[in-house]
């Protein structure tokens, strides 16, 4: 009953470099195994190889062996061999053949040819355990990211696999759902299943994982109990990434081995979570960059999406828009860009009312970053993609080229300037989309989940770029579920609830009011008065080198 990789090498088609280099490991039933590592370290590829999907479906070349119960893993279908695999992009994993959540959950058992009664029972049970029973009749393609993630986990659960290989299963989940999924994985492991999770969410995994493998350049460099690895500076020393928790444990003066928990860290620095200070003064001046005056909006004659919304954003101010799904956040952003028009009231963007104007009229002085922005790239190189906005702005060749080069440098994309955007890994492709918007130096940035799906390094780059814009007098309005981004990039928060603005104040107040997850790392960073994002990691790295 073992899943074993022995001297496993794998590379993707047309790649010279091996994505996996001589991996030896065995996955034990009854344990939750946690794979982590920086972007490109090979954790996702390892899951694909363990599932037998690489190279069978990805193409490429494999050396060495992966066996499940002594048989090569490529032998037979993934689900047929009792393997539940969940990839990192939930939307791409829907079957496309069902029109209800209930049927989508039943797809696996249906294909396995179970008796109808058993399927019905498994489906009801799986939906209940993932808390999606209330969505049973909804169309799978119309769900939010978090709901889709839970749907796919329920679909796996219904097919009763004995091996679970999950890539970023917590990415799109809110705090409650993440805890629920964590508890479910724990139960599965305790019942003797193999559970492998690839992610870099230390807060989520620390209490869950029995074993951590830290990957670097295609093979595990650390393999131990999570408490031991995370409590020290081992991850940093192994150059396997920059776990925020590890960084801060180091800052707080912990020596390994010792568990890093929020409470422990706080006790160590003698602080109380409620008393963590936050001092950002918004320096508003001059005419507002964006102004909503008594704005009401509804789609046709339906219920209002927004009512009586009034706020304004000054130049040099970064504002976050918070609220539950369906609270009207996206609509507010769309109103600001003239993608929708207010039914009542006036939206004034950069001094011009949006009524009677089109999005083209505000481009590129207003930069709008959509969700999944990588899906709007069309040019044949990163530079070409970024030149669109300066061209629209009417800049001459030299000025445009300088601006683009500057933005690419700022976002760590300089070495990929000539690459095709679609050749880059997803997080960097998202950065290209952001660079394309920043290239013409917009006066107002409208950002919809700018850090979704980004690794820690990319997220720091985004935070840095936003901060520099704000200090340069640009205005930002961002929707985000990312507490780190909210804390480190934004000054002020607006909280929408049931179509109305219920809170407008420092971003910290809004976050405290919400059920946003607060990573231990963030709490400590604030408590210790550490600089934000990349600066913090650089400071720690310097300290490590000195010590």
């Amino acid at each position: 009953m073992t899943l074993i990789a022995s001297d496993l090498w794998f590379r993707y088609p047309v790649q010279q470099d091996w994505a996996l280099r001589g991996v030896d490991l065995s996955i034990t039933p009854g344990e939750v195994t946690w794979f982590t590592g920086a972007l490109g370290s090979g954790t996702s590829t390892m899951l694909l190889a363990l599932a037998g999907l690489a190279p069978r479906l990805t193409g490429g070349e494999r050396r060495g062996a992966v066996t499940l119960d002594g048989r090569d893993i490529s032998d037979g279908s993934v689900l047929g061999r009792g393997i539940g695999y969940l990839g990192a992009s939930p939307m791409l994993q829907l079957s496309g053949i069902t029109n209800s959540v209930r049927d989508e959950v039943a797809v696996g058992p249906m294909n396995l040819g179970w008796p109808a009664a058993r399927i019905a029972e498994a489906v009801v049970d799986a939906m209940a355990r993932l808390d999606i029973s209330h969505l049973a009749a909804r169309a799978p393609g119309k769900l939010s990211g978090g709901e889709t993630q839970r749907l796919l986990l329920a679909a796996l659960l219904a097919s009763a696999p004995s091996t679970w290989l999950l890539d970023e299963p917590f990415a799109a989940l809110d705090r409650g759902s993440a805890a629920r999924v964590g508890a479910m994985l724990r139960q599965l492991a305790d019942a003797g299943h193999r559970v492998v999770v690839a992610c870099d969410d230390a807060d989520q995994m620390l209490g869950l994982a029995d074993r951590i493998l830290v990957f670097n350049s295609g093979s595990p460099v650390l393999d131990d109990l999570p408490d031991r690895i995370l409590a020290g500076d081992q991850i940093l020393v192994a150059r396997a990434g920059t776990s925020d928790a590890a960084t801060l444990a180091f800052m707080a003066g912990f020596a390994a081995p010792r568990p890093v928990r929020r409470e422990d860290l706080l006790r160590q620095v003698e602080l109380d979570p409620a008393a963590t200070p936050h001092e950002t003064e918004s320096s508003s001046s001059g005419a507002p960059a964006l102004d909503f005056a008594n704005v009401g909006f509804s789609y046709r004659s339906e219920e209002p999406v927004l009512s009586d919304l009034t706020f304004s954003i000054a130049k040099g101010e970064a504002v976050g828009l918070f609220g539950a799904n369906g609270a009207g956040k996206s609509t507010a952003l769309r109103l600001a860009m003239a993608l929708e028009y207010p039914v009542r009231g006036v939206v004034t963007t950069l001094g011009r009312p949006t009524a009677g104007r089109f999005p083209e009229h505000f481009a590129p002085q207003v930069g709008y970053l959509f969700q999944q922005p990588e899906r709007q790239l069309f040019a044949s190189s990163v530079t070409q993609e970024c030149l669109l906005a300066p061209t629209v702005a009417g800049w001459n060749g030299d000025r445009a080229a300088t601006a683009v080069a500057g933005v690419l440098e700022e976002l760590g994309l300089a070495d990929t300037a000539k690459e095709h955007p679609y050749d880059l890994p997803l997080p960097r492709r998202r950065l290209v989309a952001l660079a394309a918007i920043l290239a013409a130096d917009p006066e107002l940035l409208l950002l919809d989940e700018p850090t979704a799906g980004l690794d820690a390094v990319s997220r720091d780059l985004v935070i840095g770029a936003v901060r520099r814009r704000v200090e340069g007098g640009r205005a930002v309005l961002a929707i985000t579920h990312d507490p780190l981004f909210a804390h480190e990039a934004l000054d002020r928060g607006l909280l929408l609830d049931q179509c109305r603005l219920v809170l407008d104040g420092p971003v910290r107040d809004v976050i405290d009011d919400r059920r946003l997850r607060q990573p231990a790392a963030l709490v400590i960073a604030i408590a210790l008065g550490l600089p934000p994002g990349a600066d913090r990691r650089n400071e720690v790295a310097r300290l490590i080198e000195r010590s």
Binding site: Y12, P13, V14, Q15, P55, R56, L57, T58, G59, G60, E61, R62, R63, G64, D72, S74, G76, G96, S380, H420, P421, Y422, D423
Partner: protein, 240 residues
Amino acid sequence: MKERRSIAAPASGSVKALSDDSGIEYWHGRILVTSQGYILPTSTPVNHYLRISPRLLALVPAAVAINLVVGTITRELSLPVYLDTIGTVLVAAVSGFGPGVLVGAVSQLLLGLLTGYQYLPFVVIQWLLALLVALAASYHGFRSVFRTVLWGLACGACCGALSAVISYTLFGGSTGGGVGWLTAALRSAGLPLGVAVAIGSSSTDLLDKTIVIVVTGMLLRTLPRRILGRFPRAARAVGQ
């Protein structure tokens, strides 16, 4: 899937995914016919059936959807072309004739649900286009703009001629839409019906198919390496 492995047994210690170039195979007894036209004997007899590679099974629906959606986009931009065969052309260029035929057939079947099955005979245009584009791809037809335009004109002329024949024999020239009205205008200008249909259908198709192929060529010449690696025919099409 087992049968497939029996043809190209992996070298010991190394598993290499077979090139998924064509993606369609037809098995009968001990014979395997691939869409590249190769006929290979197999070690184990199998019942005859059509097997489609998973990647093609994922790509075909998208390509058909592209045909439909791009047709809508050109209509919204009020451009004088349809480009509603671009999915077929793209798949024929990157995956070969067989996949192109499949995309064409499914497209026409689906279109029938929207506009009725009286236009089903026009599926042969899609097939001819798939054949010519697959040929163009294997002769580096997308290497330069010049070559692409030439192949585009050739494809356009062939498709135009075929569509004129279908339109004349089955519809008497009365195929709804722009082509029909162009034909009517030419006929009222005094041209014989056959000539009016020939000019109406072939000029429209000549322009449309040429532009489809030129636009596809623009994309193919700048494809990311990752896609070129997964679709070796695309690399061949642009002469790499």
